[in-house]
């Protein structure tokens, strides 16, 4: 690990001021990913700005039934929050499938959104990686890519975003609030993470001097009937091969509202708009689910080892919607 300067910010204003004057600084939240990456020297900031004392640790109700989640709420606290559990059960479920209890106790909401990919070649400094070192190439293409993207990848990068929480947030129309010395911005979560294109090193629409301060969830009655299904190689402590965040509302056998997002398939939490379009208003049957799943995955391309995800994602979408139909949402 490279030596770095450490400063602790007492409030948001001080934090954003500090980062505006430090050219190569990083905010430190839970540190569960950043510190790992610093140890591997994938990240090598000159300055660490500790934001853990900032007053961004509350979950508060918004007029109209939505919630505002402070960026420093710990993952474990968020998952256990009664309002989250009753109004957005899939979010609680998604968080609890992520990482380990110890990591969730440390990890923050803002940090979770900014997690970086677990691609082997991104972590290994001797490998070619356009995300870590633009212009060097991509060793995952033609290498070990079983965990990699089947949607939205490019010739320069096929990495996936590892977060579970963000997949649930994508399904929930969440909005991210960011702040800098230039003011406050609100970014819909689905627009926050970027597909790699030619610039896989640019992962989000967050500017270098901006701080995530909150995530807002709009009131969404359909979310009360929702599930998060994570498919992985072991029962716990593994990243998703494929995950599905879904909410479903059915009246008289027809789908009146639906939210669907996928994890483990792309460089961003993948909101399944095409599937949603086909599901909306259609009969709530397995056949409808299949068609919608197939349409969403139609543009998918497999690599040497991950083509199974295309089939797996469709099966998991169908299974999750079926379960919502028969058993209702997560408790």
């Amino acid at each position: 690990m490279k030596s770095f300067a450490y400063v602790s910010a007492p409030d948001v204003e001080a934090a954003v001021r500090a980062i505006s004057t430090e050219p190569n600084a990083k905010f430190l939240g839970g540190g569960t990913n950043l510190v790992d990456l610093m140890r591997e020297e994938v990240e090598a900031p000159d300055t660490i700005i500790d934001i853990t004392r900032l007053p961004l640790t509350d979950v508060v109700e918004l007029p109209g039934g939505g919630l505002r989640i402070g960026a420093l709420v710990r993952n474990s606290h968020l998952a256990a929050n009664q309002l989250i559990r009753s109004r957005y059960p899939l979010l609680s479920q998604a968080i609890l499938t992520g990482a380990s209890a110890q990591l969730r106790n440390m990890a923050t909401v803002g940090g979770n959104l900014l997690q970086r990919t677990r691609c082997f070649y991104f972590y290994d400094s001797t490998s070619a990686c356009n995300k870590r070192e633009p212009g060097t190439g991509c060793d995952a293409i033609g290498g070990f890519n079983r965990n990699h993207a089947v949607l939205g990848g490019s010739e320069s990068c096929i990495a996936t975003h590892p977060s579970d929480m963000a997949v649930a947030l994508a399904a929930l129309d969440a909005v991210i609030e960011v702040e800098s010395v230039r003011g406050v911005r609100r970014i819909p979560l689905v627009e926050f993470h970027q597909l790699p294109g030619e610039t896989p090193d640019v992962e989000t629409s967050l500017a270098a001097d901006e701080l995530i301060t909150a995530v807002e969830l709009p009131a969404l009655p359909i979310a009360a009937t929702s599930r998060y299904r994570k498919v992985r190689d072991r029962a716990s402590y593994a990243f998703a091969l494929v995950s599905v965040a879904a909410a479903l509302e059915v009246e008289d056998g027809h789908i009146t509202a639906v939210r669907l997002a996928l994890g483990g398939v792309a460089a961003k939490p993948w909101r399944a708009y095409e599937a949603e379009r086909l599901l909306q208003g259609s009969p709530a049957t397995e056949e409808t689910f299949r068609k919608a799943a197939a349409a969403e995955l139609a543009p998918a391309t497999g690599q040497s080892q991950n083509a199974f995800k295309i089939e797996l994602a469709q099966r998991t979408i169908v299974a999750t919607l079926n379960q919502l139909l028969t058993d209702g949402g997560a408790a």
Binding site: R118, T126, G142, D233, R234, A235, L312, T316
Partner: protein, 765 residues
């Protein structure tokens, strides 16, 4: 190492022997309270820390070293490369006369050569005041390389596989009759190919060394499975007298074979300490372990079985190709069990290797049988289905009375009984054989079974036992405790042999200052130590009786040892007798000590010769092995192919069980590791570069708690009369048969045969 408080007063022995009881391990409290010190935890004033620099190429030469930035970094004491390292001796070549050569991990002369032989080879070691300083400075050392063509792809190299020559400890090929011809005409047959990937041990304690030189004397704290061999190889490497080296390893945080050899990290830490003149500590990073300590070889295997219409085997063929490094490693006994498990009319086993520009492979829990039983036992299941008979029934029809290859006697074989017990406990009768026929909602339920098998061996052990006038018993032997409960088991054996309370026995181990003990490996440590310990206790009782008879007032006067029973802290014939304490007090002796075996001089040579001749004689006379039956129930998600284990019963013939608690834990641990092997574990070696790409516990999956069902362990507890204390060994047999039982259960659940480990969901979609 103090293992139990020494009692000053004799305590009445509870009814019945200690051997066989489920006793708490004596080091349990020290470990759970953190009092137990591991190799990286020994404080030395002025200690320095070290970190390795690894080559990023598979083969080539170092053309330049730029240490300037590293040397300029804060707190850096030394940057040692091939340009400035003092010369060390090359490692000795393998010889049965110098057993320690078995622990040579490879031929590379680290930091005395500009050659690179594998991707990850250590090419520099950096010493600094702090761990962080050393690790950061290591990243600043810049080396340039001239890369040479390399061969790193196991699969691509298979056409160049060469046959293995047989040695005393490894059979390259063996045959009985013409198995290929018998297979060709068999009424029913299967002919199947299997592949298994490379695995790494992933002991919870990464390899750690703390080294301190005083002139030519070296004290080294080293988490090793063999303190004696480590000492001897270090003496030869640094060309110093072996007596001046002390290796201390009272606690080893898991080994599984990964700490049996002398690897680069140990040598280079000792070198760093010599160069820097400071005590140096280096605990490898997890990545460092993957890059510098070998793992289990990948394999391809062919198993072909022929049978007549009644299921009697007429042909059994098992061949394999495994991997060694061009600079180290050895063949793995993949076909071992196939020479002993089935009474086939013809048998052919054949082992081949490919040699690659990769890190040496090494022993990992049940080397050979772990992956060999997967292929054999999955094939037996396939044959059973083809024949339409129950897989246990098929095994029983082919259960041999004698060793199938040569008619040697089994010293102990209770596989029939193990299957009967396991089937009852598992409720095998409930199983409906049709694949996919047992469903529970979305879950496809499958039940599978397979045979576990591991040969039983024994090594030499030197032991001393001392009885003191305070009633304490001190057992000293340089064996190893890496979590198995060795000291507890030996304490139980000594307490029974001498008739003293368990609490009065103290067992010292894990130190070259002690009499030379066996390495912890091959499931043979407990039996090896027990053999000498029991002899020592006999000798001690004789000495005590002789001493007693020297005093006129002894109630033992005129009695022979054979007439006496060791109990209640002394020797007794019915009511009459005397405690050891009383004998010693009367004689005015503080203690009496006896020794079995000698570490040096003629005694050591005699011991070695005696051991080798017994080894060869036993080998000619008996086939000795632990065996068992593994039963499992799996559940496969019908939507996603996720496999979860829901039930496990292991039924074993391991001879006598010394400690029912720790033995069960070992067997259970083996099964857990087998579940990992079956479903998750795979070291990903990039075939383009030879580089391991998942060197971390986040990316190399081992089972987590949620993956493991309750594991029900049963054993027959019937002693093998040819083994010390009747022990057949429990360290490795637990992992064998596990992957096959799971593969067979997955087939039962889904109708799919997966012949390529690990069985991940993508193979089941």
């Amino acid at each position: 190492m103090t293992q139990a408080p020494v009692r000053t007063e004799p305590k009445t022995t509870p009814a019945g022997p200690y051997v066989g009881r489920p006793m708490d391990r004596v080091d349990g409290v020290a470990k759970t309270t953190g009092e137990a010190k591991f190799s990286a935890e020994y404080p030395y004033p002025d200690i320095a820390h070290a970190a390795l620099v690894h080559a990023p190429i598979a083969r080539g030469r170092i053309t330049g070293v730029d240490s300037a930035a590293a040397l300029a970094a804060r707190g850096v004491l030394a940057v040692i490369t091939h340009e400035n390292a003092p010369e060390m001796k090359p490692s000795p070549s393998a010889s049965m006369l110098n057993m320690e050569t078995m622990a040579v991990s490879g031929s590379v002369t680290f930091l005395n050569t500009d050659e690179v032989h594998w991707n990850g080879q250590p090419v520099a070691i950096v010493v600094a005041d702090t761990l962080e300083g050393a690790q950061h400075a290591a990243s600043l050392v810049k080396l340039s390389y001239d890369e040479l063509p390399s061969t790193v792809d196991f699969r691509a190299e298979l056409p160049n596989a060469f046959p293995q020559k047989s040695s005393m400890i490894s059979v390259g090929s063996a045959k009985k009759g013409d198995a290929e011809a018998a297979l060709a005409v068999a009424a029913v047959s299967v002919d199947l190919d299997y592949t298994t990937p490379m695995h790494n041990h992933n002991a919870i304690e990464p390899h750690a060394t703390t080294a301190f030189w005083d002139g030519d004397k070296l004290t080294i704290h080293e988490g090793t499975q063999n303190v004696d061999w480590t000492r001897k190889l270090l003496a030869s490497k640094f060309d110093v007298p072996v007596e001046g080296i002390r290796v201390i390893a009272p606690f080893v945080g898991g080994g599984f074979g990964g700490k049996s050899m002398l690897w680069a990290g140990t040598i280079l830490t000792a070198l760093a300490a010599r160069v820097s003149g400071r005590p140096v500590r280096m605990m490898l990073t997890r990545e460092g372990v993957y890059r510098t300590v070998g793992g289990r070889t990948p394999s391809t295997q062919r198993v072909a079985l022929g049978a007549d219409a009644d299921g009697k085997m007429t042909a059994l063929i098992h061949t394999c190709v495994t991997q060694v490094g061009n600079v180290g490693g050895s063949p793995e006994q993949v076909t071992s069990q196939s020479r002993h498990l089935y009474d086939a009319a013809t048998i052919l086993t054949e082992q081949k290797q490919v040699s690659l520009d990769v890190l040496a492979n090494t022993a990992m829990r049940a080397p050979g049988e772990s992956i060999g039983t997967y292929a054999l036992e999955a094939s037996v299941d396939e044959l059973a289905y083809k024949l339409g008979v129950d897989p246990i029934d098929l095994r029983m029809r082919n259960e041999p009375a004698k060793n199938p290859m040569d008619g040697k006697k089994f010293s102990h074989r209770m596989l029939r009984e193990a299957y009967a017990l396991g089937a009852e406990k598992f409720d095998w009768a409930r199983r409906t054989p049709e694949p996919g026929s047992m469903r529970d909602g979305k879950w496809l339920v499958g039940m599978g079974v397979a045979t576990a098998f591991h040969p039983s061996w024994q090594l030499n052990a030197n032991v001393t036992v001392r009885l003191s006038v305070d009633g304490g018993v001190l057992v000293r032997c340089g064996f190893h405790e890496m979590g198995m409960g060795g000291a507890t088991a030996q304490g139980q054996i000594a307490a029974d042999a001498l008739g003293v309370p368990f609490e009065s026995v103290r067992v010292e181990y894990g130190d070259t200052d002690l009499p030379i003990g066996p390495g912890a490996g091959g499931s043979m440590q407990t039996a090896s130590v027990a053999n000498s310990l029991i002899a020592a206790c006999e000798k001690l009782k004789k000495s005590m009786l002789t001493l007693a008879k020297k005093s006129s007032g002894s109630p033992l006067k005129g009695l022979k040892l054979a007439e006496l029973k060791a109990r209640d802290g002394g020797l007794y014939q019915s009511g009459a007798g005397e405690t050891y304490v009383s004998i010693l007090s009367r004689a005015g002796r503080p203690s009496v000590e006896v020794a079995i075996g000698s570490d040096t001089g003629l005694g050591a040579v005699t011991g070695q010769v005696k051991f080798m001749s017994k080894f060869m004689l036993d080998n000619r006379r008996w086939m000795k092995a632990a065996s068992g039956a593994q039963f499992c129930e799996v559940r496969v998600d019908s939507d996603t192919g996720e496999v979860r284990i829901s039930r496990w019963v292991g039924s074993f013939d391991v001879g006598r069980v010394i400690n029912a608690k720790t033995a069960s834990s070992q067997l259970r641990g083996g099964i857990v590791m087998g579940i990992g092997m079956a479903l998750q574990e795979e070291t990903l070696v990039d075939p383009r570069t030879g580089r391991i790409m998942n060197p971390s516990l986040a990316e190399y999956h081992v089972p987590v708690h949620a993956d493991i069902p309750p594991i029900d362990i049963h054993y027959l507890d019937d002693p093998d009369p040819t083994m010390p204390a009747g022990i057949l060994g429990v360290g490795e047999v637990g992992i064998t048969g596990v992957a096959a039982a799971i593969a067979n259960a997955v087939h039962h659940a889904t109708g799919k045969r997966i012949r390529d480990l690990p069985i991940t969901l993508d193979k089941l979609l």
